[in-house]
Each structure stands twice: as structure tokens, then as C-alpha cells.
Amino acid sequence: MGRGTKQKTERSATFSRWRQPNERLLLAGLRSCAWLVALAVVLIFLFLLYFSLPALRPESLKTLLNWHWRPYGGEFGILPMVVGSLLLAVSALALAYPLGIALCLFIHGLGPRILRRPLRLILHLMTGVPTVVYGFIAAFLLVPMLRQAFHGSGFSWLAASLTLSLLILPTIVLMLNSQFEPLRARLETSFVALGYSPEQALLQGILPLARQGLLAAAVLGFGRAIGDTLISLMLAGNAPLVPEAPLDSLRTLTAHIALVLATDAQSSTYQSLFVCGTILFGVSLLVNLSLRRLTRSILAPESPT
């Protein structure tokens, strides 16, 4: 507490007031940069809303909330895509999340010390792999394997969710890691003093305390999974139907937007796409607001238990 106020006074001593006209101009410039970002986000939201409004009238809403996508038959149902997005994101998370927790435990004491840094480096490098490259490798490596093993085309919910889980894995681990690190730094000596084994310290000490971090990592992973376009577009087969088995094809909201806009450019299908965009925007908004709540309360000062 005392340190915080000290920093504050030092800051305000550095920049008490900008008096010169050119300094004021510079300050105004910097301020407008920050406001520009706010303006951009508001504009994105308004544009999406404005273009999806025609589709939200009662009579067109009926064609929108429908299980059939047949644009030439006048049916613009987006429900299969909504379900497809949810199924794919949840299944990818279900694969990546346990793996992520295990990797985080590995980094934080269950793996040998010399392997921790290389594993962290690998995870960092994974965040830099372009999604289109993941999709490409999976299309020519994983999909033929699935085709051989199960017949069919191989482009399926399973192929997409396996690859997508690889994409969101580093996001999950690095988020968990950022929560584990301060907790361990604070509590490690206590655990040693209590005679805990590394397994006990992590599973019975750190994990329960990092409850919010665990939730935050899941939310972040879900947000990343549902927002990805290229992996589902390249691997999921893109049939606008609700899949019944992991080897069935599915289409996500993101892939739907890309497919429809990239193929038939002139049609009345635009409106429904903007509804898809608004839904995705809403999801990312929810994800962000809940992350803000979750991570803020972790970073807030709490007394060591």
C-alpha cells in the first residue's frame, strides 16, 4: 500500500503539467490515439448491428432461426452453425484443457528441472505458428490418417477439434502459468516447511488457490477456439448440418462467414452473415468481461493463507 502511493507521487512529479503549446499539441495527439481505439471498437459494433438489423425483423427472424441453410430456397437458417461452433469449441477445449493442466504441473515441479525451460520455449513458439499452417499440415497429415482409419473423407469434426486443441493449448498453459507463478513464489517455502511433496504442494496447495486462474484459462481457451476461422474452414468439411458423430462434417459460424462471402458475392445472404458476426462479437465480449473479472480478483492483493 505504502509503496503504491509513493510511486503515484513520483509519477505526478514527473509529469505534473504540460504547459508549452507544442507539448500540449503532443499530449492531445497521444490522447486522440487512445480514443481512436475506443472509437474503432464502438464503430465495429455499430456496423455489425446496423447491417444485421434488417435480418432481425420478426418475419426474417423466422427464416434465420431455422435448421436449414438453403440460400437458393430462401432458407437462411444459422442454427446449425451456432451449434457447430459451440460443439467444436467445447470439444477442442475438452481435449486441450486436461493436457494444459498436466503440462503446467510438469513445468511447475513434476517434470525434471532441465526440461522445464525447453517446454516453455516450445509453448511460446507454438503461439507463433500461423493457424493456416496448422490447418495445412493437418489437412495433409491428420486427415489422410483419419481417412485410412475410419474411411469417409476425413474432413470432420474430429480432425478440426484435434487440430484446434493444439492451437489453444499454449494459450491455456501460458494463462495457467501466469497464475501459478506468483502463487508458487509466495507459498513454496511454506509448503516445504509443512513437509509437502511436490505433488501435494501443487495439487492440494496451489490448484485450489488458483481456482479463478483455472476458470480464466478455460474461458480464454474457449474464446480463442470459437473465434478461429481457418482450422474449421480447412478441416471440418463445412456441411451446414448438425453432426451426429465425431466423423461427421460440421460448419462453424466463422467458416460460414468466410465461405459465403468468398464464394457468392452478390446475394441477400449478407444480412444473416452480419447476424453471425454480431453473435461472435457478443461471445468475445462476454469472454473478455468475464476474464476481466476473473483475473482482476486474482491480482488484487490478498493476505497469504
Partner: protein, 288 residues
């Protein structure tokens, strides 16, 4: 916790780490085995002589040069648009915004970072629809539009890293400027920004990597499969990530598939080298 349970957990963690390493190893080996043999003198320019291709006198049909040039043009243009705004906003948030204003202004930065890139692309598309309906009836998706939307996409990276770098400066160093009698803007320019420059540069490298790899935005804002070299701000263009996607979806001959392998390898090396330099910059920052 019994010994058996503890051993079990350890085993599961090892299994997870091994699975990851093996999966990634197989993927990388696969990509290199198919991609590396393609990398030769014909990769970029095909049968066209390199000087005629680079200067744009002859079109390249059988190489990656147009896509590479398109990606470079896109990244360059997007960073010209995004760097001043991103760094400026980062400086403002770190040094000037306080209390309620700071909270209010940092929310949109987080939100922007979370918006799926296809939604950003849709926004760019909507922008063109609106322009067509109102003032420019001939407005169309183009290099400039794609770069502007990509610039929006990478802004949060620039802002957050600039802000973190400035906020991490030692409070003692902050007092040096006023102690020397420097004005506030001189302190910012000659002391704070140089001290934060490594962190900021790291952020720039990350942002460039993100700009080079994104596919969803450019798909909706002006990339096409065969545009040749980028010839103007209002023209269509080619790009490496889109080439990969396009040839995956519909390659007509094995040469096109080979090119897609080489393009994947090139794009991966490009983003990794940018990311590597970001990591190095930030690590030396931590040490010093």
C-alpha cells in the same frame, strides 16, 4: 495422497509432455520433408528471370514471389498505419491516463484484442458496402482496406507492450529528467522512451508476425489467388497465407501443392523469426 497416486499424477504429466513433443515433432518433420526439397532457385520466380520479376516487367506464374511481395506490402502498410497510433495510445495509457479515464480506455483495447479476426474482416467488408451505398459507388475491397483492418487487429499488441514497457521503468530513472531540469516532453523523449525501447520493439515484432499470418481478415478484404504483384493501394493483391489456404482447397497440379508446402515453411519461418527476436529483446530487457 498415497505414493501410488503421486506416481500416477507424475506419469500423466510426463505423458502429456511427451505427446505434445511427439505430435509437434511429427508435424515439423512432415512439413520439412515435403517443403525443403521445393526450396530452390525456381521457388520464388518460376521460369521468369528474377530481375524481370522483381521489377514487375514480367508476371510470375509458377512461383511464390507475388504472394511474398503481397504479404510484405501488406505488413509494411499495416505497420505504417498502426505503429504511430498503437505506440501513442500505449504512451498515453501508461503515462497520462489516470483513474476512471484509464479504466474506460483500457477496456476497448482488451475488447479489440479479443474480437475474432473474421469479424474484423466482416467489419472491413461492411465499410465497403457502406461506401458503395453512399459516396463511392466504385469502392471495392483492396490492399489499403486489408492493411487498415490488419492495422486494427495488431493495435492491441502494440498498445499493451508499449504500456507494459513504460510502466516497468524504474521509478528512480523517472526522476532523472526533472532532476536534470528537462521539460516533460524531453523527459519522455530522451529518457523514458529509450529505456522502454526494447520492450516496444519486441511488441512491434510480435505485431508484424500477427499481421503476416492472419488469413481471415484478408479473405474478406481483397486478397485473391492471382493478382500478380501488388500494383496499387486500391488494387487486389496476393498473400502467402491465402496462397496456402487456396492451394489446400483447390490445387490443380502437384506443383501447386509443392508451392503450398514451401509457402507454409516460409510463413512459419517468418513468424518464428519475428517471434524469436521479440523473445530475445524482452529477455535482455529483463536481465538489464
Amino acid at each position: 495422497m498415497s505414493r501410488a497416486q503421486a506416481g500416477m499424477i507424475r506419469f500423466v504429466c510426463w505423458l502429456a509432455a511427451m505427446t505434445l513433443v511427439i505430435v509437434l515433432g511429427v508435424a515439423i518433420v512432415f512439413l520439412c520433408r515435403r517443403g525443403l526439397p521445393i526450396i530452390d532457385s525456381r521457388l520464388l520466380f518460376g521460369d521468369t528471370s528474377w530481375w524481370l520479376a522483381v521489377s514487375g516487367q514480367r508476371p510470375v506464374w509458377d512461383g511464390l514471389w507475388p504472394a511474398l511481395a503481397g504479404t510484405l506490402a501488406l505488413v509494411l502498410l499495416a505497420s505504417v498505419l498502426a505503429l504511430p497510433v498503437g505506440i501513442g495510445a500505449g504512451i498515453y495509457l501508461a503515462e497520462f491516463a489516470r483513474g476512471k479515464t484509464k479504466q474506460l480506455l483500457s477496456l476497448p483495447v482488451e475488447l479489440l484484442a479479443g474480437i475474432p479476426s473474421i469479424v474484423m474482416g466482416l467489419f472491413g467488408f461492411a465499410l465497403i458496402l457502406l461506401l458503395r451505398r453512399s459516396i463511392f459507388h466504385s469502392a471495392n475491397t483492396s490492399l489499403l482496406l486489408a492493411a487498415a483492418i490488419i492495422a486494427l487487429l495488431i493495435l492491441p499488441y502494440l498498445i499493451t507492450t508499449t504500456q507494459t514497457a513504460l510502466q516497468g521503468i524504474d521509478p528512480g530513472l523517472r526522476l532523472t529528467g526533472p532532476a536534470l531540469g528537462l521539460s516533460q516532453s524531453h523527459t519522455l523523449w530522451h529518457i523514458l522512451l529509450p529505456a522502454a525501447s526494447r520492450g516496444i520493439l519486441g511488441g512491434v515484432a510480435l505485431a508484424l508476425g500477427r499481421a503476416a499470418e492472419d488469413t481471415a481478415v484478408i479473405m474478406l478484404t481483397g486478397v485473391v489467388a492471382s493478382a500478380g504483384l501488388p500494383s496499387g493501394l486500391t488494387e487486389k493483391f496476393e498473400a502467402l497465407p491465402f496462397t496456402i489456404y487456396y492451394f489446400t482447397a483447390q490445387h490443380t497440379c502437384s506443383r501447386e501443392l509443392d508451392l503450398a508446402f514451401a509457402a507454409s515453411l516460409m510463413l512459419l519461418l517468418l513468424t518464428w523469426s519475428l517471434q524469436g527476436s521479440a523473445l530475445l529483446l524482452q529477455r535482455t530487457l529483463e536481465r538489464s
